[in-house]
Symmetry: C2
Subunit: 189 residues, 2 copies
DNA sequence: AGTTTTCTAACGAACGTCCGTTATTGTAAC
DNA sequence: GTTACAATAACGGACGTTCGTTAGAAAACT
């Protein structure tokens, strides 16, 4: 039981890394198995298909990041501060929280069973940011939808260029992103 | 000769659409051929390999978008206005300029020959924005690198959610993106 | 306690399918 | 009749998946 869950978990981790590094199609079951130190057929004891493996990776990743962001939001006061805290947690997970979250950023081929579920999970998670932005006091001509997508775009794009020990730390990045928007969009007190 | 170039061009267009819609791996030569109305093997008269086809799509796309942005920049005065004009042209091409540019946004598998060339082409193009941002007069604590990546991220991420007849027009999007940053980062005159 | 049965976790081998690619042949135009 | 282009047919290999089997642990029964 415990051993089984450990193995399943390890398999999930390895699969996430492969999906991230190679993309879904190029991440073959043979590669995943090899990286996990088992034979290809043995994967099917833990997951019924490659598609199910991908869905499981997404479920795990989005569950974790949702919890991390919610935890980071506790006891933070002020609408802009809350947005920045959420961004920091988001970037922390995406850039330094393991390969799970980078795998989520990759393209999901149209033939994957469970594609709609994956999209739904993504949408559910992003609703956190819609709520945080809804709480901001903004000038009436500012479009909140565009603002949310702009911020999420800036954040999610980081995984294409950010490298450890090179770019700014995730928290610094979050500060800069939010600050670049904050002082100009915030209403004069 | 002319006929050949037409056919080659059509093939390129079809391939770009397939690469965008399915991703590189799932876009099989058989699918591309079918969509182009020819037999699979006939593609190899025009392109020596699938990898070469992908590289050609990237070359064409990045050449076109570079020209479009440069053209949009002619006769535009004012540093922020120039940045906005470049963003509008970039988004116009990405969102309504055909599938070429969306194909460029997709993941390039690590086994693709010419991968480095593709990355170099992308980097060369993005240098336009580095130059435009270098021209801005900003408060000294504003990091120009972060600003560039933030703006490019916001723009390039649009292709994951923007749909025709739904989201704001590309030019409107460009205006909002730049405006969200402009008034707060610009130095008081 | 000892025996029988069931479950866990993995194995090697194979299946049918699809992949990118090639050698060869056909055909239309100049 | 050569050249430009496209079609036929096939190749070797990789893919996801399924199969039958097995060693060992756990559970159930006697």
């Amino acid at each position: 039981m415990t051993n089984s869950n450990n193995r399943r978990q390890q398999l999930l981790e390895v699969a996430a890394t492969c999906f991230y590094r190679e993309g879904y199609d190029a991440a073959s079951m043979r590669l995943i198995a090899e990286q996990a130190g088992m034979r290809t057929a043995s994967i099917y004891y833990h997951f019924e298909s490659k598609d199910a493996l991908l869905v499981a990776v997404h479920e795990e990743a989005l569950h974790r990041i949702q919890e991390a962001v919610n935890a980071a939001l506790m006891d933070v006061k002020g609408e802009w501060n809350r947005l920045e805290a959420a961004c920091a947690a988001h970037l922390e997970m995406l850039l330094t929280g393991g390969t799970f979250f980078k795998a989520v950023m990759r393209h999901v081929p149209s033939a994957v069973e469970g594609r709609e579920l994956i999209f739904k999970l993504r949408d559910d998670y992003e609703r956190i940011f819609a709520d945080l932005i809804a709480d901001l006091e903004l000038s009436p001509e500012t479009d909140r939808g565009t603002l949310r997508l702009m911020l999420l775009g800036a954040m999610n794009w980081t995984f294409t260029w950010w490298r450890p020990h090179e770019g700014p730390a995730p928290a610094v990045l979050a500060f800069r992103f939010v600050t670049n928007l904050r002082s100009c969009l915030d209403l004069p007190a």
